[in-house]
């Protein structure tokens, strides 16, 4: 297929459709709305289900219902809307049915604004819903990657019977880039064994999909089963991209848009002869802890760059485990960093600005006192 110039939101929508999406349920919210609008046009055209739900709460529960049939389903929203989905996400994972969720993040907290941000990281990656659970989080940094990861999200969600989230910020949702869409996969015509589809003369036993285990030991066993399945995910599904890492003595770590802004900065630093590389986690969950731990053995320090106040930072620090200094640079509330800001952080680090003392967030906050 040829490359087309596609807007992130629309590219994700079309990629999902081509991945065999059977039903979409969503609610408008900037900067995600084009995704819903695309669906409102294309899904009925293709004879597939589209419902503009009355709210994000309803949308996630429509997804939950449809997911219980084993169909390929998704919803999408942005930060405040995602907060409303937390109960539903916890139920979906507790029921072990597959679903895909797209979060096009914007500035918060509260109503905030509609500018690009990455401040839902913790909410998505570390469980904004109640109970112990993990879900798969894919963080594209380009429209092409958004397309590819959307398709992957469906496959992973089904493989592990869990929720897969495509997590991006508003700028990527609004951006146009050339990308190649996948070929149209046929829509599934069969439903999995476990699904609630009506017995239809095909099964003797009814299927029950639920997340209650009133007896605590049963719930514990369920939790343990989910954890073991998560171990499989961790073993097989960690993905990341590296740039200029061969001889890197410093590593910038950033995901999504922050990662690609960092790429510009790393290139500029390389042009100045600074031996810095970039690690861009593609799966935020499972997170490349082990890879970073090993990296920490050979490099001199890390710079984590995010469009939030240092959320993934803590995961990097967990992985580095005190072996090497970690620094942080973040922009907040819908502000996107420019490459030159990151470049000067890299320069600072390369010229001795590394320490194992204190918390990188504190130092960053200190440096931010001057800004704006």
């Amino acid at each position: 297929m040829a490359r087309e110039l596609l807007k992130g939101n629309e590219a994700i929508a079309e990629a999902a459709i081509r991945a065999g999406l059977q039903a979409y349920f969503g609610y408008p919210i900037t900067p995600q709305t084009e995704l819903l609008e695309w669906m409102s046009k294309r899904m009925p055209e293709l004879g597939r289900a589209f419902v503009q739900a009355e709210s994000e709460l309803a949308a996630i529960n429509m997804v939950y219902g449809a997911a219980c049939t084993g169909a390929r389903v998704m919803t999408s929203s942005s930060s405040p809307g995602i907060s409303l989905m937390m109960e539903g996400i916890s139920y979906i994972i507790g029921t072990e049915v597959p679903a895909v969720l797209v979060d096009v993040m914007r500035g918060g907290p509260g109503l905030g604004n509609i500018a690009p941000a990455q401040s839902d990281y913790n909410q998505i990656v570390h469980g904004g819903g109640h109970g112990d659970y993990h879900l798969i989080v894919l963080a594209p940094a380009s429209v092409q990657e958004a397309v590819d990861l959307t398709v992957l999200a469906f496959d992973l969600a089904e493989k592990y019977r869990t929720v897969a989230v495509v997590l991006l910020d508003g700028s990527l949702g609004q951006m146009m880039e050339p990308a190649e869409l996948p070929p149209m996969r046929p829509v599934k015509t069969t439903f999995p064994e476990w699904a609630a589809t009506g017995m239809m003369g095909k099964r003797e036993k009814r299927n029950i999909l639920t997340s209650i285990y009133l007896n605590p030991p049963d719930e514990e066993q369920t939790n343990l089963r989910l954890l073991r399945r998560w171990q499989e995910v961790e073993a097989s599904e960690i993905r990341f991209k590296e740039y200029f890492m061969d001889d890197a003595r410093y590593v910038v770590v950033g995901f999504g848009s922050a990662g690609r802004v960092a790429l510009s900065a790393v290139r500029a630093a390389r042009a100045e002869g600074i031996p810095v590389g970039l690690l861009r986690p593609v799966t935020l969950s499972p997170f490349p802890y082990e890879h970073i731990r090993k990296l920490a053995q050979r490099v001199e320090g890390f710079l984590v760059v995010e469009m939030n106040a240092g959320q993934m930072l803590e995961d990097v620090r967990l992985a580095v485990a005190g072996q090497k200094p970690v620094e942080f640079y973040g922009r907040l509330g819908g502000v996107m960093p420019f490459p030159d800001e990151i470049l000067s952080e890299i320069q600072r680090i390369a010229s001795g600005g590394l320490t194992l003392e204190g918390h990188p967030r504190e130092r960053w906050l200190q440096r931010m006192n001057g800004k704006n």
Binding site: L5, I114, S142, M176, P178, M336, F338
Partner: protein, 181 residues
Amino acid sequence: MQTEIIIAGFGGQGVLFAGQLLSYAAMDAGKEVTWIPSYGPEMRGGTANCTVVISDEEIGSPLVRHPQAVIAMNLPSLDKYEPLVKSGGVLIVNASMVNRQPTRTDIHWVMVPGNEIAEELGDRRMTNMVMLGALLANLPILPLEALIQTLEAHLPARHHRLLPLNVEALKRGAEYLAVKA
């Protein structure tokens, strides 16, 4: 090689479309490209701009603080972006909508009476094409021909009758400078 262009103006001046056309053309020419708009409710009746980055390799930041080139379709855009153009860069100003000339001396700037030329062509909506033509004449990222082909390829069929006018506008924009120079 990477080139960054910001096209800025009022909503309704077609700045987003001009950026998209440039992006399509860059893509058709086998380049990497990103197009990113300002977005949101503040757009309504307000200002609009987009940033286009064209490159031979994977593009990092889609936004740049100091673009290589700027098309300023109106005065607020001139005020905002003149100081930001990269030293040695290009600034194309829609002379029809501003009451001053740029003051920087370390950049190459030109004044193009976009609205007037477009009105001469009989359609004020062509201003964006005139300005784009002027840009390409000053910033050799893509041949004008490439843009025209792209226009032919991507303009929706129902707008095809507008094609000659668009082409004409691009050319007039490019020529204006040639004439002036």
